[in-house]
């Protein structure tokens, strides 16, 4: 009798303990990141906070962690202050929008709602995923909060011709969302051009994860591939809950493509699809992907290369940002000195986001706003001003009237078997 009650109690305790460990809420920040608390000026006008909102569970962590590190490095290098205010990115200011190991738009919306209601937040850096941004922008637009994404690439988030006015529907003329990367109507075609011209490929099997980003970029890619003269043998959509890709891959293998394109991120199927394609006999075809699967080398836990191991030998990816820029060596060295690891694909854009916010804060402080709400609006206005040129780590850039960066550069990376990481191949400039 006593033993049974003890057993029941143990179960209950386990349940409670386990339940406390799951769910979203604030993620613990990365060790090594410091919350900038030291102000260089003797007297500060107060502390303002910048929120970082990204997914940090499972495979998403491999992509998000480097961005957070980049953000904190920028803050540290700026001395933790701008415009006379102390700027803070504490662990409590880092929000996690993942649930059960994958990004979740509803959790992201909940986080942004919490961020806009706290008057001390002057900006949000994030999210990482376009599907999350799609539900967050209406909220931040309504509140007039500056949002800078280091990685969203779906063109529909900013460009009116792709439906952005429906997203920033509360104040369509007020731009509050900017991003440091270019859009998928450039990223997809960049890989298509590279595949046809540099790799000499002709036919391709396209598979996407049916989400905003994955389907968007796959469609952009396929359109350009056909325009360049290639053929798309099949285009499938497989949601992230799919476990068995063998039937899809068998059907694709029957059509003998000489390459595969995956639109999506690691957590929605990247490595699983590659492994299934190898099992179905497509192990020697080129595997082309987007920035969604470029989340670190084979040593990074849960990254695409870590999960795919040797199957990734024919893989190529893109990054919707500049890959080779004058300040790169210095940035990589500073990052490695601070954190001991190499930067991720979007550490630089995260760094640049913080640089933009700090400069905007400096300009805003100069207008002497009356209260935090006024400061928030002044920061937004200063940041999205198309006439302002920013001197970021990625080079000089400015935002266009929709909040997109003027750097329309996409970089191509290939898997290097020797170092088991992605190495830079070339970059395409769509401004030309």
């Amino acid at each position: 009798m006593n033993l049974r009650k003890l057993g029941a109690l143990a179960f209950g305790a386990m349940f409670v303990a386990a339940a406390c460990n799951t769910g979203g809420g604030t993620a613990t920040g990365t060790p090594g990141g410091t919350s900038a608390a030291t102000a260089t000026a003797a007297a500060t006008k107060g502390t303002v906070k910048v929120a970082v909102e990204m997914p940090f569970q499972g495979s998403e962590k491999a992509a998000s962690d480097p961005v957070l590190k980049g953000v904190r490095l920028a803050l540290k290098q700026a001395g933790g202050a701008a415009g006379g205010y102390t700027v803070q990115v504490a662990d409590a200011d880092v929000y996690d929008d993942s649930i059960n190991g994958a990004h979740d738009p509803q959790t992201g919306a909940k986080n942004t709602k919490a961020i806009v209601t706290d008057p001390d937040y002057i900006a949000q850096i994030g999210p990482l995923n376009s599907s999350v941004a799609k539900v967050q922008i209406p909220i931040s637009n309504a509140a007039g909060l500056l949002q800078c994404s280091p990685a969203n690439t779906n063109e529909g988030l900013t460009k009116p011709e792709f439906g952005a006015l429906d997203i920033r529907n509360v104040h369509p003329d007020v731009i509050n969302y900017v991003r440091m990367v270019t859009t998928d109507n450039n990223q997809g075609p960049a890989m298509a051009k590279y595949g046809i011209k540099n790799l000499g490929l002709k036919s391709i099997y396209v598979i996407d994860d049916t989400e905003t980003f994955g389907k968007g970029i796959a469609d952009n890619f396929a359109k350009e591939w056909i325009a360049e003269g290639g053929t798309v043998v099949k285009h499938d959509g497989a949601p992230k809950t799919t476990t068995d890709y063998s039937s899809l891959m068998t059907a694709a293998a029957a059509l003998h493509p000489d390459s595969i394109y995956f639109g999506g991120v690691t957590s929605t199927g990247g490595a699983r699809i590659l492994n299934a394609s190898v099992q179905a006999g497509l192990g020697d075809v080129k595997f082309l992907g987007s920035d969604g699967i470029q989340d670190g080398g084979a040593a990074t836990p849960d990254s695409f290369l870590n999960l795919a191991a040797d199957n990734a030998k024919n893989s190529f990816t893109t990054t919707a940002a500049i890959g080779d820029y004058p300040g790169k060596v210095a940035f990589d060295a500073a990052y490695k000195a601070e954190y001991g690891v190499d930067p991720g694909s979007y550490s630089g854009t995260g760094f640049a986001c913080m640089q933009v916010i700090l400069k905007a804060l400096g300009t805003a402080a100069g207008t002497n706003p009356a209260d935090m709400a006024g400061l928030r609006e002044a920061v937004r206005k200063a940041a999205v001003d198309p006439t302002v040129t920013y001197d970021t780590v990625l080079g000089q850039m400015h935002f266009d009237k929709n909040g997109d960066t003027s750097q329309l550069i996409v970089s191509i990376f290939a898997f290097d078997a020797a170092t088991k990481t992605w190495v830079f191949k070339e970059q395409l400039d769509f401004a030309k």
């Binding site: 386990a18 190991g101 068995d244 849960d302």
Partner: protein, 409 residues
């Protein structure tokens, strides 16, 4: 829980079971293969028998895994009329155990770490051992020690693992690695299932019908969260032990892995059939499924019989977990939910409570899912699976091989 029952249709005619079995299987496979062979005609390509054969092989392997899990659902429902929602997650834990054993085990590098690891595993082994002994009601010392030894041996094996990283080409080594993998997964999951029944379902057996059901849902969440805490939420790769050697059949190059899974799964199912039909414990299970009170009057130990049911169901789920790891190459904490749903659907489709029905249902669902993906509707595959279920249930409410039993008072 029936195996030799005669399905009755509403007009009162009786069909021998083998007739229904053969007819359904023949219809499914022929329809499937024909459609896939001639589907390319729609887009101007020649008929493709090779791909249809390959997809059939895919469907058989997937169906085999679903069938093994469905057997667990159907046995438990047949005997105590409980839909064991935790069964899918027990399968998932089996897959993780197989992954852990194949990769690194629980080995720690420091002495302290090893000590803690061994202590934790030891405690876990004792807990499982207690559950096993107590659940099955083993009274004599020798069988007790045997049960304990099996569980402890399995957990110790899990602690050290075999540190595999890739395909093993030597047949002997492959067998030498696979046998312990299967044994360890099956023993631990069987013991876990029995312990869960002993702790969570048995005390509630005489209470309302709803309490065990909700407890099962709770156990499902507990198992998932334990795995999240233990292994995180991302995909965990499993070493692909079986090399991708192919053989030719009707123009298709089919992996030996598919055949291996199918043959081994069928062997397990035949083993189960033999056990249920030919042994005393099996007879006890069948009689308990038919009428619990009458069986008790005939001298059947109810607790032990139910525990044996969970034991076997757990062992099959553990085997299915190993298949999952070997075939798909990855495990994730939410596998149990998806697979469990499909397996439960299979069990209902085939007639819940009927072992052969669960097997048919499993293969049928495997075929439906592969078919949906093959004709390009992966997004709809789950919806299509459930549509098939609804249609079949409308035509035959008790499932394909189910019995039309009246409501018990």
């Amino acid at each position: 829980m029936t195996t030799a029952a005669q399905p009755v249709d509403t007009t009162g005619r009786r069909y021998p079971q083998w007739v229904v079995l053969s007819v359904v299987s023949a219809i499914v496979v022929i329809l499937f293969a024909t459609t896939l062979t001639f589907q390319p005609l729609l887009s101007g390509h020649p008929p493709d028998l090779a791909t249809a054969t390959q997809q059939t092989a895919n469907a058989l392997s997937l169906g085999a895994i679903y069938a093994l899990i469905a057997l667990g659902y159907t046995m438990v429902y047949g005997i105590i009329e409980l839909i064991n929602f935790a069964h899918g997650d027990v399968f998932m834990v089996g897959a993780f155990i197989a992954m852990t054993f194949l990769r690194t085990g629980f080995q720690a590098t420091t002495l302290l770490g090893m000590g803690i690891g061994l202590a934790a595993l030891g405690g876990f082994a004792l807990f499982l051992g207690w559950g096993l002994v107590s659940g099955l009601g083993i009274r004599r010392a020798a069988p007790r020690l045997l049960a304990l030894a099996l569980v402890v041996g399995a957990t110790v094996g899990l602690e050290f693992g075999v540190k595999q990283t890739g395909p093993i080409t030597d047949g002997l080594t492959l067998t030498a690695v696979l046998i312990p993998t299967f044994l360890i997964a099956m023993i631990i999951i069987a013991a876990t299932n029995v312990t869960i029944e002993r702790l969570a379902y048995r005390p509630l057996r005489k209470k309302s019908r709803l309490a065990p059901l909700l407890t099962a849902v709770g156990i499902s969440f507990i198992l998932q969260n334990i795995v999240i805490v233990w292994q995180g939420t991302g995909d965990r790769p499993v070493p692909q032990l079986v090399p991708l050697v192919k053989f030719e059949l009707l123009g298709a190059h089919i992996n030996w892995l598919n055949m291996f899974i199918l043959v081994l799964a069928l062997a397990l199912m035949v083993g189960l059939q033999t056990f249920v039909n030919r042994t005393r414990l099996g007879r006890a299970m069948r009689s308990t499924a038919q009428d619990q009170q009458a069986a008790q009057l005939m001298g059947v130990d109810l607790n032990q019989t139910i525990s044996v049911t969970f034991l076997i169901g757990g062992a099959l789920a553990g085997a299915a977990g190993v298949f999952q790891g070997l075939y798909f190459g990855f495990v994730r904490f939410d596998l149990g939910f998806n697979a469990g749903l499909k397996a439960f659907t299979s069990a209902v489709l085939g007639g819940i409570g009927n072992l052969t029905g669960a097997v048919i249902g499993g293969f049928l669902i495997g075929f439906v899912e592969v078919f949906a993906a093959a004709v390009g509707q992966q997004r709809w595959s789950q919806a299509i699976v459930f549509m098939v279920l609804i249609v079949v249930l409308i035509i035959r409410p008790a499932g394909i091989l189910g019995q039309q039993v009246g409501e018990r008072a």
